[in-house]
């Protein structure tokens, strides 16, 4: 893929230039929709998440700080938090049962395998590989699939307390490995 300057597109958005938002959209909408879809698991909802996220990006572009991180991570986070908020609110209302979650997650491609094949994923793949299978799965089920700790506990048939301890230990090990 050609290099793309996300930070300058975000500066354009902060200056209220709609063409800058369009450039970001053309470049990233498909990728961001995949992120939202994986978490909310329903296309109609994912489409709404993407819509709202782009309005957020437009409104909040002025607060993007390129000294803290990349523009791509920033916009991806906006989509993820929107999707996560939706799925948490929805699960309180509808209570998706664990079996359904398991089925959906099983049918989706394995992000760990995909990471190995991706160019910028080598380092994260290496650090996740060092965690061991269970702890790695906890991180990816949360980050990629948007599962809550209790959903992960059910999914892995592991006590909630153990999952919580794994999260903590995995984060400390990952921080060390990725820094």
């Amino acid at each position: 893929m050609e290099p793309f300057d996300h930070a300058s597109a975000l500066k354009g958005c902060a200056r209220q230039d709609p063409a800058a938002l369009r450039r970001l959209y053309d470049r990233e909408a498909g990728f961001l929709l995949a992120v939202a879809l994986r978490i909310v698991r329903r296309r109609d909802v994912a489409v709404d998440v993407l819509h709202d996220a782009f309005l957020d990006i437009w409104e909040r572009a002025g607060s993007f700080d390129s000294s803290r991180g990349t523009g791509r991570a920033w916009i991806t986070s906006i989509v993820r938090y929107r999707a996560l908020k939706y799925i948490r609110a929805a699960s309180r209302e509808t209570d998706i049962d664990a079996v359904t979650v398991a089925e959906i997650v099983d049918a989706a491609p394995d992000p760990f395998a995909a990471l190995a094949a991706s160019q910028d994923g080598v380092r994260l793949h290496g650090c996740l590989a060092r965690l061991g299978a269970d702890k790695r799965q906890v991180i990816l089920l949360a980050y990629v699939d948007g599962l809550s700790q209790s959903e992960i506990a059910e999914r892995l048939a592991t006590p909630l307390g153990t999952v919580k301890a794994w999260v903590r230990r995995s984060l400390i090990a990952l921080k060390d490995c990725l820094s």
Partner: protein, 255 residues
């Protein structure tokens, strides 16, 4: 509570990014991120380092009509911004300023001033024939709702001026309790769900800048819910409805 130990802060930031915090802890982190640059850096670390796992998902096919919908929403917002002359405080069109208007911290620090200013303004207006305010286009009288969901008479008045300014005027005394606040919502699109107009200051009376309101029409629903102090952490009502009612266009007849 935001920990001070670096390892605990990394774990908290990581749990926030992974989406593993409950609604209250998540709201705490969001609140802290506004002022805690160190925590913001730790959050950014995880957002950056975990990004490849998102990228590895590839792309989904986007419907070609989707951009048009975004463009239309932007146009509506700009129109709302350009409508008439908002009060001096909201005059700035910079994104920062509008973002700041959504910040509960700013809300809390300025609401005291704002309600004092509103009081002074009300007195001034009653004493002199100031230039007429933008005329009222819509009223919504919200009915009080008790814990059983029964309506118990008018409790709140929402007034929407021609220029989009929204005024919130309590008709009853409400104490949301410590750590809680009242939040005003409106609903015009069932598919989108209730949209927040903001957390109300203690007492509840406030005038909101026109850009807060994206749409208004006859029958549009307004409601006030009980939420955590910083507002609902999930962008939609989480607490019980205290006041609810629909907007009705005002007659154009002069007094």
């Amino acid at each position: 509570m935001i920990p001070s130990n670096p390892a605990d802060r990394d774990v908290l930031a990581g749990e926030y990014v992974l989406g593993l915090l409950d609604a209250v802890a998540m709201a705490d982190v969001e609140q802290a991120l506004r002022t805690d640059a160190d925590l913001a850096r730790r959050v950014a670390f995880w957002e950056e380092q975990l990004l490849p796992a998102s990228s590895a998902l590839g792309k989904a096919e986007v419907d070609s009509a989707q951009w048009a919908r975004i463009e239309q929403a932007l146009a509506t917002r700009r129109q709302a911004l350009d409508r008439s002359t908002p009060p001096a405080l909201t005059r700035s069109k910079s994104g920062m300023m509008r973002a700041a208007w959504r910040s509960p911290t700013l809300w809390r620090t300025t609401t005291g001033l704002a309600s004092a200013a509103a009081l002074v303004l009300a007195i001034l207006l009653s004493r002199m024939s100031a230039p007429a305010e933008s005329p009222t286009r819509y009223f919504a009288i919200l009915q009080s709702r008790d814990t059983l969901g029964q309506e118990s008479g008018p409790g709140w008045l929402i007034q929407i001026a021609q220029n989009g300014t929204v005024r919130s005027l309590p008709l009853v005394d409400v104490q949301p309790g410590s750590g809680r606040a009242l939040q005003l919502w409106t609903l015009w699109d069932q598919a989108r769900g209730p949209v927040s107009l903001g957390v109300l200051p203690p007492g509840g009376a406030i005038r909101l800048p026109p850009e807060r309101l994206e749409a208004i029409g006859d029958g549009q629903l307004f409601e006030i819910t009980l939420e955590p102090e910083a507002g609902s952490p999930i962008g939609r009502p989480t607490g019980r409805i205290l006041f609810i009612g629909r907007a009705k266009g005002a007659a154009t007849q002069a007094l």
